[in-house]
Amino acid sequence: MLIECPWCGPRDETEFHYGGQAHVSYPDDPSVLTDEQWARYLFYRDNPQGRFAERWCHGSACRRWFNAVRDTRTHQIVATYRTGESAPVT
């Protein structure tokens, strides 16, 4: 499978590492969270059937983290985009 790195272009899947769900923002003030809210931030992730925004790292080349929208049913990477950008497709 080829994954399009936003910096290096299409590369073999073996050059990449998976980094879990994208766009999980750090709590504004973690000290006011209850244990359950903190645990939800740390451990609870979406598990959709369909398109899912994920973080990937191009570890064997430019070593940059980026985001990818992957269809969890087909493993097709629908789009890739740089960190800080919002998903071009949903």
């Binding site: 073999d12 064997s60 430019c62």
Partner: protein
């Protein structure tokens, strides 16, 4: 162990590890070139200083490197030669011995918003030449090495037979490539290349 022995640092430096990573392969590379009648040539080019550069992509380095900093995957210059490895990361290859003035000059331009580090021991440069060298490399490399796709003044970081390397296509010989494996992987990559080129021996 005595207290004196414990306080004395032991420097392990075997005699065969003092030079370039592939100095023990000169004869085997020569034998390969002869056996393949020049179809696959492998040569180590050890006389380079390597500088890792992290800086603002807009940094005004034109006078030092011969042009603006290239985007990822592109190469500028001849000596020094600058490879774009990432959005804010470059590798500069320069003749051995020029690293100190080059580092100072780059430091003056990038100021406190970047870093120049001498990484000369990190990688070695292996030149692949001959009409079949890209075919040999393609056996262990997932990127498209056809001269139409990977051409002059392009570079790529990728895996060759699972070892991380920087690949570089130079101007001049259109089929030749430079391969920059990590020093500790150089002998593995050299062994792999010698094995992959076996079938082109006549």
């Amino acid at each position: 162990m005595t207290a004196e022995a414990a306080s004395t640092p032991v420097r392990r430096r075997p005699a065969d590890r003092t030079g370039s990573p592939l100095e023990g392969y000169v004869d085997r590379f020569a034998a390969l070139a002869a056996a393949t009648r020049g179809a696959v040539g492998v040569t180590e080019l050890p006389a380079f200083a390597h500088l890792a550069l992290r800086a603002d992509p807009q940094a005004d380095v034109g006078d030092i490197l011969g042009g603006p900093l290239p985007p990822p995957g592109h190469v500028i210059g001849e000596s020094p030669l600058t490879l774009g490895l990432g959005p804010d990361e470059w590798l500069v290859l320069a003749p051995d011995g020029t690293q100190t003035p080059l580092t100072r000059a780059l430091h003056r331009v990038i100021g406190a918003n970047g870093a120049v580090v001498d990484v000369s021991g990190q990688r070695t440069v292996v030149e692949l030449s001959g009409p079949w060298c890209r075919t040999v490399l393609a056996k262990g490399c997932a990127i498209d090495l056809h001269p139409r796709s990977f051409t002059t003044d392009q570079c790529a970081q990728t895996l060759i037979a699972r070892a991380q390397v920087i690949l570089l296509a130079r101007s001049g010989d259109p089929s030749a490539l430079w391969l920059l494996p990590r020093a500790s992987f150089a002998r593995y990559v050299a062994d792999w290349l010698l094995d992959a080129a076996l079938e082109y021996q006549t």
